[in-house]
Symmetry: C2
Subunit: 290 residues, 2 copies
Amino acid sequence: MIGPMNSNNLLARISADLPNLNKSEVKVANAILEDPEAATRSSIAVLASAAGVSEPSVNRFCKRFGASGFPDFKLQLARSLVSGVRYISRAVELDDGIDTYPRKLFDNTISALVLARDALPLVAIERAVNQLSQARRIHFFGLGTSAAVAKDAEHKFFRFNVPASSHTDPLMLRMLAAGGNVGDLFFCISHTGRTKDIVEAAELARKTDATVVSLTRDGSPLAKLSHCVIGLEIQENTDEYLPMTSRIVQLAILDVLATGVTLQRGEGFLPHLARIKESLRATRLPDDND
Amino acid sequence: MIGPMNSNNLLARISADLPNLNKSEVKVANAILEDPEAATRSSIAVLASAAGVSEPSVNRFCKRFGASGFPDFKLQLARSLVSGVRYISRAVELDDGIDTYPRKLFDNTISALVLARDALPLVAIERAVNQLSQARRIHFFGLGTSAAVAKDAEHKFFRFNVPASSHTDPLMLRMLAAGGNVGDLFFCISHTGRTKDIVEAAELARKTDATVVSLTRDGSPLAKLSHCVIGLEIQENTDEYLPMTSRIVQLAILDVLATGVTLQRGEGFLPHLARIKESLRATRLPDDND
DNA sequence: CACTATAATGTAGTTTTATTACATAAATCT
DNA sequence: AGATTTATGTAATAAAACTACATTATAGTG
């Protein structure tokens, strides 16, 4: 099974809690799980009779799951149904066809973004934006899948007339890190936060006057080494062989950071960005609005 | 204005219909648009007084938009709120603060993915998967923002024991393209489909026996040159200076393609992927489940 | 094993919420 | 200006949800 066990997801929570429920609550849970869509449309009386319990039992059930009452519960349920995730068996199976797996993958990606959006570490983001704005040089470090993220970041931050670069060569990482100075910012990207070369580079950088910011898993070795951590908790499906969702969330976070820096620079900075964008026009064939 | 005008979206429909509504309906519409989240939580009485109209007016309003009544309307509203899209004026403004712009950016990204998901060119994807599976060598071409996407793709397809590489140097592109052979696949990534260097490389490749697949805008010069086009129609916000949503959709499409290839290889191929993943273990610090 | 205490569930009444039918007011048309 | 249609509000009705309390089941203890 691949499906992101979306723990914010009401349905997932219900089925996870199933063993801890008492008889009538189990009945209600099953009635809901059987056809959640229908549950959002029914009244408390209808659902109660479908489950074979009394109305107050349904009401108690709702409160047990954090809702203020039945209507509120239905609302949450409706929300969790659309959030793209059907909570279970969204795993891509070997016999999935063309009209199944693309949708599943998009759904999983969307759901990862929704989860990330609802748990954005705003304080860390704000700090990171400040540090990025003040940096005199920015080095993005990322290996493997994160290499592409680092490259994207370089391409983005380069536009802020601050020297920005991305690196993947471990020797390069060490040399750059060891030579860190005031104003240097090392931005380390690692999903696990345990990639040796990155952690070691961060260690070296910490011994200098440079700043270390990381986009990684909270509590990981890399996180512990950083001045500022943007912690992400993305359950990359472990039995999946190609990492997908984590890097997309990372990219979105970097968009946020870049935008934060832009906003901090203020209106006077926009012409600069416009000039850069304009400079690309000559690389394109004419007759276009972009 | 950035907001993707998702027409499935209830909020979008309300604001689109605004001119055709009568006085009290406009009042209700405004009250809802002002704080849709709150609207989903309020009772009909609360919303009516917030809008300055009577309860039946609210009820009529709901029915006008296809709901069976107020509760049903709230449900639909709740649904459309999560679908990620905030429908309008989700543009980041210069005076947006930390608790505004990150969310807006995520919302925009999510909405772009939802739109893309609902308009996936499945036929083209299936063809591309076949061509990628059969290719003996894969070259990913992308410049600028698409360079990071190409790099990510390389990293992903490399795992399929097919030589995969990504390139950004225009001279390299031309040389590789000109030397194309049966079994070579040139995968060109360009949001606009008009980047000269890419288009020219595709032209050269077409004169050889190689296959040209592109991930680009439908109808663009690059698209016309390709054997197979995965057409995307992503409205990158024109008044935004940093391209964001387009590349994320591109990445998601590449995930789909990579998964398609994996599925085509069948079960026997999974151990190969597992071995590759396993090979990375040594690069990480121990004590981890990943 | 009965008795008590506690937890679980249901019944019936109350309150809140939504809907309908109707009346009044506004707007449009002749 | 008067008639007709459309819009809106009032008040009564119906539906839905909730609460307090009663009953039943369950677990624990002498």
